[in-house]
Each structure stands twice: as C-alpha cells, then as structure tokens.
C-alpha cells in the first residue's frame, strides 16, 4: 500500500459525491437520491457475529448466559443459516454483503495467487504500483497514481440501500477494504490490513539471551540489550515506495527499565508511556518518514509489558492505520473514522484485531490474549453503541470478529478430544467463550431495546465452528501421488511457497485453505495441463482419489468430497482468474495443514494440530451452517447467507439488484 492509492480512492469518492450533490441540487429534486421512498423508512439492524455457533448458542442460552438471544429463540426466530462453499469468513461475508455466491463476488479463499507468477496474495484487495516513475538518485518519484482496489465484486447491501435513500451504517464491515464508494457510514472490518498491508505483524522486544532477532510467522522478534536500564529499539513501518530499494521505514524508540521499581518507560517520538508489568499502553500515534519533510505515513501502535525482570519483554501490536489520521482509507466518509476515534478513542483498524499470531508464537499467554481479546470486543461495542443515537431509521450493521477469532484459539478448552486439551486448561479458560457470547448478548439486548417494537433485528453468523484436531498436508499428498514434482526432494521440509517446485512436472497444486489449482497450459506460466479432456479427467481423478484418503491414526476420511466450483455456484464472472479448479471439503475435525496454505511440502500427510489455533470451520459447509436469529418469523425453509441481502433490501421496499438471486426469506416458503 502507499499514499498514492489513498489519494486516488479519495478523489474518486469526492468526484462521485460532488456529482450526486450537484445533480440533486441543480435539478431541485432531493427525491432523486431517495429513489421514490416516500413512506416511513423502517429500522433494520443486523449483528454480524462471525463464527457464532448454533450449538453453543443454544447451550449458552439454555444455561442463562444469553437471555436476550434466548427470548428471540423462544419466539421462534431461529433457523440454521446455510453457509458458503467454502465456509471461510471472507467468502461467506462477501456473500452476505453482495447477495451473490463466490462465483459472483469473486472471493474464493483467504489466499489466492497471481496466475502469472503463482505468488500467493490476499484475495480481497490489490495494489497496483504507479505505471511510470522517475528515478532521482536513491529516490523514485511516481509520475502516476497507484491503485488500491477492492477485489470483491457487486455492490454492497448498504450501498444499494444508501443509494435508494435509506440511511445506512456498516460498522466493521467485512471484506470491504478499501471501502466501496458510498454515502453510507462505513468502517472497514475483516480483511482491512495493518500498515504493512498484511493481516497483522507484531513486534516483540526481549533481552532474553535465548532469543535471537528474527522474523516469525505473523511477527518479528528483536533481541535488545539494556545499557544502564535503557534499550534502543526500532519499530518497523511500511516499505518506503519512494526509495528505489524500497527499504522498510523505521521509527527508533527507547524502552527504559527502572532500577528498582517494576516500571518501564517507553518513549517513541512525542509519546511518553509509563507502564507496569502486565499493562497495555494506549494507542500511540507514530509517523514513518518516507521522504524527509515531504512524505510520511501516520499510524498507531500499542505496547504491552509482558515481563520486566529477570528479562525485559515488551510486545508491540501490529502497526495499524491511525483512525484519527488515516494514511489509507478505512471509512466512508473519509473522516468518519476520525469522528469515531474522537468519541471512543483510537482503536484497531486492522480487520482481525485479535493478535492470534502472538498467542501461537507463545509471545502472549492464554491469559494475556484473553485480556486483549476482551478489550477488542469491548472497544467494538463502544464504537457501535456510540452510533446508535444517530440510528433513527434505516439500516445498521455491526460486525463482531470476536467469537470467530477466540473460537479459533480457545476451542481446545471445550473439545476434550483435541490434542491440546487438558483439564487444567479447561478449568482456567473454559469460561472464555461463554463470556464473549454473553457480551454479545448484552449488545443484542441494547439493540433490541433501541429498535423498539417496530424495528427488525437479525443476528447472523457466517458459519458454525468445530474442532481442528488433525491437519492434512494436501501438497505433500499431491507430491507423493505424482501430481507435483520438486527440483530437490531432499529440501521438501524447508521450502514453502513452491520455491523448490519443478513446474514442468507439477500438474496440481494446493494454495489457500480449500483451493486446488491445476497447472494449466496458457494460464499458469509453466502450465502443463491442457484445457479440455486432460483438464476434466485430471480434476475428476484427483477429486476421487482425495475423497478416498484415510487417516492412518483414526481410520477416518480427512476429506469428505472435492467439488468443481462451476457445479455449485449460481453466479458467474466474479474474478475468474482467481477461481480455483477444485474446492476441498474437509471432514469434521480435519482441515488443511498450515504448510498447505502457502505451498509447503512436509513429509507427513496427516498429523495432529498442535497449534493453539484449535477450532476451525474451513471444512464441508454441509455441517457448518451458521445462525439466523430474528425477532420476526422466518417463513423460508433452509435459508442461506446469500438470501439475507435481498430479504433486507425487500424490507425497505427497494428494488433488489438482479445479481442477487436469493429469496425473500420473510415471504418465501
């Protein structure tokens, strides 16, 4: 990401606003923007509870943890909500937003690849560098704008409503970075990146001599030395696009430990924070200089003092886009995030604020992560509540990542058969998931009260949850079954991202969590599979063989079925170059291995999942339907996530876009 893309996105929005305002003003028809809505506008609120599991919902409601949801269930407003193929959050929420299946909105997996280079990339947003630039010594001056683009296709539900004159809010809107051009008030959620353009890279500063300075998955560990209690450190910022070598920008800072007291002082630019052990700082604004006095990137980060003695250990959150001074667009209107920051203080802008990598890497303990995760949830609730006063009519969407992210990390506390489950762990942290469900239920209670008798509320989750006990090395299986070839098989364990691949002998490769691609001639750079009969035969062969694989430890089938996308999607034309050739539907308790996701070839095919990331949902969608809970009767049977958008648009009397093919759930049988 860079600042040119921000400017271009902002200019596009500005142009559109100007044209709309000028059009309405000159013609003197304010109704032009209300699209014929003369009657009273209803109040509809949607709580997007990512990963809310129907079984847990019923269990916690029955135990009295969720009295507000229990009332809704009791009134008959509950149904299981059919999820998407595959049931991944970006795929599923893009379906909710656009009313189209992945074939239409074009998001098929968390990760996709550039067919020209086979380099893995995020599937939801892309940055195109400036077409031309001029080099001046070590500097490079862009002569045209770069482009930051939302890959999701189709208008968002709230764009359709706002364009029809329905005041709309979409807070923490998932799969909406950069934000789509709309007059609705939106704040980006899931898939919004940190300042590096990633899903979050933490930093950890330690004096522990056993540690060395290195990059780890999702983070960076820096070994520091104390001199008279003082450590000189650097905070890593975005790559400097103005420098020909694109080095990472940095901000120096100091951590000072008191000689006697358990206190640490952190000084970074104009910020001065004094922290005790176990404390988090507030969000601190920092500026990364790209060109001295001419170009800088503003951002925020926060520190956590994990330990002061014997070793000093200080954690720093991923560097986030500053909502109070955003270097890249995170909201519409552009300064809406500033208004929110003024109301509730600075907050995480990265979509997945829960710092799961830090827990996985052992940098944060379970207890420390819990505290942080609860803080994220409470901040989200503060943001949502701060906007309720303005919500008098129209559409109000608020999205929670908490249940999803914490179910991923804490499923091992409730699944007695998970390899990481222990009775002590369950005793200590088994109450964490119920406490999060309880918090969301409190918010639901507020919302129901705010809506009154006439308003309508939907609580929707994109998928259920289950345990992730065993992991399947898809690429390893492909390699050992003759569908892939390596230049040097001796290096198979240490070469991710296909760096050791012999593409002239590779016909099939797995990338992302559920996606399989064929190495197609004319599409991939060294493709060997011809489109036509060869392609069809190979797809069927691989699908059939994968469905028969058995786990040597349990005797179970890790994969239930492998499907051809065009046979399951009604919509077409959504980013066809990103569409996988096959989608893998894993069995309950099984999922693609961590090595599979980025193209690694470890030796074992099926192994235990010993990562704290112990719950998952990227399996067969048939047993992972989510939650639909509402205060009005749902007439339709087997409702689907793609049908919520047309249902909601219907309820405002607005014309449903033709691409949204789902039923009106409140009318259909």
């Amino acid at each position: 990401m860079d600042s040119h893309s921000t400017k271009q996105a902002a200019q596009t929005m500005l142009r559109r606003r100007f044209c709309q305002a000028a059009g309405a003003g000159v013609l003197g028809f304010p109704s032009i923007v209300r699209a014929g809505l003369s009657r009273k506008i209803p109040k509809v609120a949607v709580v997007g509870a990512d990963g809310m599991d129907p079984t847990l919902l019923h269990e916690y409601a029955a135990k009295g943890f969720m009295p507000n949801c229990k009332k809704l269930i009791g009134a008959g407003g509950f149904k299981k909500l059919r999820t998407t193929m595959p049931p991944q959050s970006p795929v599923a929420w893009a379906t909710f937003i656009s009313g189209m299946d992945p074939g239409g909105h074009g998001i098929y997996d968390f990760i996709t690849r550039d067919p020209a280079t086979l380099a893995p990339e995020l599937s939801t947003a892309s940055t195109t560098p400036p077409k031309s630039s001029m080099d001046l010594g070590k500097w490079t001056i862009p002569l045209s704008s770069s482009k930051l683009e939302l890959i999701r296709r189709g208008p968002a539900l709230w764009d359709v409503l706002q364009d029809a004159g329905v005041p709309s809010w979409a807070l923490r809107a998932p799969v909406n970075y950069p934000p789509s051009d709309t007059d609705a008030k939106t704040l980006c959620g899931l898939t919004a990146p940190d300042i590096h353009g990633s899903y979050g890279i933490f930093s950890f500063y330690t004096t522990d001599p056993k540690q060395s300075t290195r990059d780890v998955s999702g983070g960076h560990i820096e070994r520091v030395r104390l001199q008279r209690g003082l450590a000189y450190c650097t905070l890593r910022g975005p790559d400097n696009a103005f420098n020909r070598e694109q080095p990472m920008s940095e901000v120096p800072f100091t951590i000072e430990r008191d000689q006697d007291q358990p206190l640490v002082r952190i000084r970074i630019q104009d910020n001065d924070a004094l922290l005790k052990q176990g404390e988090w700082s507030a969000f601190l604004p920092v500026k990364f200089s790209l060109v001295p006095y001419l170009a800088e990137v503003t951002a925020i980060c926060r520190f956590f003092v994990k330990q002061i003695r014997p070793q000093l250990e200080v954690y720093c959150s991923p560097v986030n886009i500053d909502p109070a001074n955003p270097a890249f667009p995170v909201s519409t209107p552009g300064d809406y995030s500033k208004d929110l920051a003024e109301l509730v203080g600075r907050f995480y802008t990265q979509g997945m604020a829960e710092e799961t990598s830090a827990l996985t890497q052992g940098v944060l303990s379970d207890a420390e992560f819990r505290h942080h995760a609860m803080d994220v949830l409470e901040t989200d609730i503060r943001i949502f509540r701060s906007q309720l006063n303005d919500f008098k009519e129209g559409f109000f969407y608020s999205y929670f990542s908490s249940l999803d992210m914490n179910s991923h990390m804490f499923w091992r506390t409730i699944d007695t058969k998970h390899p990481l489950y222990t009775a002590e762990l369950a005793k200590e942290h088994g109450d964490h998931l119920p406490s999060l469900y309880r918090k969301i239920d409190e918010y639901v209670g507020d919302l129901v009260e705010h809506l009154g008798a006439e308003g309508q509320i939907y609580i929707a989750s994109d998928h259920a949850f289950t345990s992730f006990r065993r992991q399947f090395n898809l690429n390893a299986w492909l390699l050992d079954n003759g569908y892939a070839k390596m230049k040097n098989r001796m290096d198979r364990d240490s070469a991710p991202n296909f760096v050791n691949n012999d593409w002239s002998g590779t016909s099939v490769y797995g990338l992302g969590i559920n996606s399989i691609y064929l190495n197609v001639a004319g599409r991939e750079p060294n493709g060997i599979v011809k489109k036509g009969d060869d392609y069809d035969r190979l797809r069927k062969e691989v699908a059939a063989k994968l469905s028969e694989v058995r786990d040597p430890k349990t005797g179970e089938r890790p994969i239930l079925r492998v499907v051809e996308p065009e046979k399951v999607f009604r919509n077409t034309d959504g980013n066809p170059h990103h569409k996988p050739d096959l989608i893998v539907c894993y069995a309950d308790n099984y999922r693609a291995s961590w090595d599979t996701i980025l193209g690694g070839y470890p030796t074992e095919h099926v192994l235990d999942n010993l990562d704290p990331w112990s719950g998952d949902h990227c399996m067969d969608p048939d047993f992972l339907s989510g939650v639909l809970l509402t205060n009005a009767p749902i007439r339709a049977e087997n409702p689907g996530l793609d049908e919520l958008a047309p249902t909601i648009i219907h309820s405002f009397g607005v014309k449903v876009p033709e691409l949204m093919k789902g039923r009106n759930l409140m009318a259909a049988k």
């Binding site: 008279r228 003082l230 100091t254 007291q261 002082r265 004094l274 507030a282």
Partner: protein, 276 residues
C-alpha cells in the same frame, strides 16, 4: 520583568475567554482574531506614516498599469518593473514600524492562546505522564520521590527514575474534573505544578513549568517559574493536542487565527480609515 508581563497577558487573555465562554472554542478564537485585526489597524494608524503608505501604494498601482499599458516597449516595462521593486521595498519599510510594535504583543498573545488551543486538559479516564527533570548533578536515585495530586486525579505508579535524562516520572489518571496544583517532592526539595482535567468546554493548561531561560518563559508563560537554585529544571505534563474543526475539517488553531485576523483587518480598514 517577563514574569510580570506574562501575568498581565494571562489576566487579559483569561478575561476575554471568560467573557466569551458561552461561545464554542472556534468562536472564542475568532474573537481573538477580531481583536488582533483591530490591534493591527491601531498599530498602523498610530505609528505608521499613513501618507507615505497611501502614496507608495498608489505609485505601485501606477507602475503596474504602466507595465500593462506599455507592454510593447521593453525599455519602459523594465523601468516600471524596477520602480515596482523599489516601491515594494519602500512599502515594506513603511510597514516595518507598526509590525515591530505589534510583534512582541502578538507573540505574547499567541503563546497565551496556545495554553487554551494547542493542548487540551485530560478527560475522565485518560492517563498521562508527569515528568520532573532534575538539575545536572542531582542524584535522582537518592531519597524518596513523591507526587501528590488534587482530588479527581490518581497517581497510578510509583516514581520511575530515568537515568538517561535525569528525570523522575509518574503516571497520573483523571477520574473526573480536576484542577489545581500537584506537589512534587524529590532531591530534598518540593515544587508545585498546575494540572487540569475537565469534562468539557474551553480550559487553559500549562504543559511545562520551567526555571530558566528567557525564551522558555516566553513560550511557556502559564506559571510562575521554578526556583532557579532548586533541584528542578522543568516539570511537565503531557497533555493531548487540542483539535479545532472548521466546517467539519480539522485545522490548526494558529492558521485559523492568522487568516481570520488578516481578514478582519481588511474588513475593518475602511471604517477605521487605515491604509496598509
């Protein structure tokens, strides 16, 4: 002397702000811009040579017209251009006197206003650090270091002794509205420092209390200086930066003040019969 001037200017600025406290912060700032514009007009009226300014401006206009009229005659254009340059120097010289008279008043005024518009008091729930910087040679590790704060504030940490800059630091949290003097005891001596937390409205804050330096006293005039022979060189509170919005857009208060005072000056020059 500077301390006396600071106290007088503080009384004046606080008085104006108190008088217009019913206005939003941007309104109060515009009142100051209006008064600053009037001050500029008064300075021009009283100490400038109005006849010279008028004559110079008229001649400058004539030279510009010459350039326009005789644009085909390079010799005439060059001559007129040189005269425009000369006239500009003359005009600037004529304006110098009122500017010199105004400058110290405006500097004092702006530094006073910074206490109201550059920073804002703490809000309930916010924390900040209080830093006592000690004289070189003072052993900050020796003896006890304590901080007592007025009601409405809580000291959240023990004293942290920072060897790098010879500083003692505490973290203080605002529980609600609070205003008054903190008492710091360290290095065998005590000193006070104002601290403020409010729940809304415009309020003055003093980010630093210093013991030496003429310019430091000009820039941070909000409190009586610390004893020059005491162990403290500076006591500071990190206040959040204040924000002022104009038509929904955040703007620096100083830019608003300067632009608005120039506009008020232009708007009022006819009624005040002043040329500049």
């Amino acid at each position: 002397m500077i301390d006396v001037i600071n106290r007088i200017s503080e009384v004046i600025v606080s008085g104006i702000n108190g008088l217009f406290s019913w206005l939003p912060p941007i309104g109060v700032l515009l009142v100051h811009a209006l008064l600053m514009g009037i001050l500029a007009l008064a300075a021009y009226a009283l100490v400038s040579n109005q006849a010279v300014i008028k004559r110079t401006k008229n001649r400058l206009l004539a030279r510009v017209l010459e350039i326009r009229l005789f644009q085909d005659d390079p010799l005439a254009v060059t001559g007129s251009f040189m005269r425009v340059l000369g006239g500009t120097v003359l005009y600037m010289t004529a304006s110098l006197k009122p500017l010199i008279v105004m400058l110290p008043i405006v500097v004092l005024w702006i530094t006073q206003l910074a206490g109201w518009f550059e920073w804002r008091p703490l809000r309930a729930g916010e924390s900040t650090v209080v830093v006592a910087k000690m004289q070189k040679g003072t052993d900050i590790m020796a003896g006890s270091a304590t901080l007592s704060v007025p009601a409405g504030l809580t000291v959240e940490t023990e004293a942290m002794r920072s060897l790098k800059d010879n500083e003692i630091v505490w973290r203080v949290k605002a529980d609600g509205a609070a205003s008054g003097a903190m008492m710091i005891t360290a290095g065998g001596s005590s000193a006070e420092k104002e601290i403020a937390a409010v729940t809304g409205g415009l309020a003055q804050v003093s980010p630093k209390r210093l013991n030496t330096g003429f310019w430091e006293k000009v820039y941070y005039p909000y409190e009586v200086p610390l004893a020059a022979d005491g162990p403290f060189t500076e006591i500071r509170v990190s206040y959040p930066v204040a924000q002022i919005k104009v038509f929904g857009q955040e703007m620096n208060w100083l830019i608003i003040l300067l632009i608005a005072s120039i506009l008020f000056g232009f708007a009022l020059k006819k009624p005040f019969k002043v040329e500049f």
